[in-house]
Amino acid sequence: MKHEVTERAGTTVVAFAGDVDLQNSPQARKVLLEAVAGEHPVLVDLSGVDYIDSSGVASLVEALQTARKRDLGFALVAVSESALRVFQLAHLDKVFTIHGTLDDAFADNR
């Protein structure tokens, strides 16, 4: 798993690539919690993620909750079909804001 954190129009964009699984989700969690500890809303770009297991999903849930407490925006971008099914299984699609692409996300925020 690789990750990249960038700034775009006052928003922190965290992009993951590869598999998020039991081995590396602690690292993903650290990255996410650092992002939501900042001052900007956070977009998590999952377009490069092939597979995300439940430990990765759990880290996203924790980050979302932290962001909510701090009144920060937190949304997911480009969740793959297979990952979306995992989200739906646990009704998480009702909790997360999910955008199709990064550009959509920024357009929606206007």
């Binding site: 989700s25 969690r29 646990a90």
Partner: protein, 277 residues
Amino acid sequence: MGAAVEYPAPAKVVEVSDLVAHFGSRLILKGVSLDVREGEIMVIMGGSGSGKSTLLRHILGLERRTSGTIRLLGEDTSTLNARQMSDLRKKIGVAFQGGALFSSMSVGDNIMLPLHEHTDLDPTTMEIMARLKLEVVDLAGFENLMPAELSGGMTKRAAFARAIIMDPRILFCDEPSAGLDPVVASALDDLILRLRGALGMTIVVVTHEVESACKIADRMTLLDNGEVLFTGTVDEVRAHPSERIQNLLNRRAETDTIDPDEYLRRLTGEDVDGGRV
């Protein structure tokens, strides 16, 4: 874990060939062969004494076999050392018949046990994962109960949650609907279908319930008297001309397959120093 191997679809994730197994000197499995393909729901069906539970225990590596090979996720289990076996077992989940929840631990701790034992995840992550799985099996909010406080159906659900906590490649279910009323049993069947649908998991179910088997199976293996009678889709099984198979499906008592010699031995007690207590 490791690089995800790309199998030419549909890969075989369970391969049993010519499995022969004894219990004491009693022959339980008489050369059973069986393949399970990735992503399918395979139901192993048979009556009591058919050897289906023994077959499952062998696939899980809980018994010593007489001969034959078993491959799980491509690995011949007889060639693995204890540590490799333990690694392999992290990729499979098992929901036992009675749930097999640890009675001294809360439901939540039961579900998190594999995570505690096998991962370095943060406790918060583990708790969220456990609650997510409880959501999936419709047991949200039950994590602090003790197993003794759960009903039969809830126990089985909790066992499912524990079995899938590590996102296994293969999920084994032993008699998921046994001992449950039809409504609860049918809800468990739905759960199995949902899990496969959402997670693409390969699921192997051992059962004696014909209706349940027909509802969830992609393919079925009919086991009788330690032998595979037939493996095929639900439609193929239903349309099969063999009387023995139709009897099994309609639960008619079998009368014509008794081996007179063996029956006589049984009656006269010649066979008594088998493995039975």
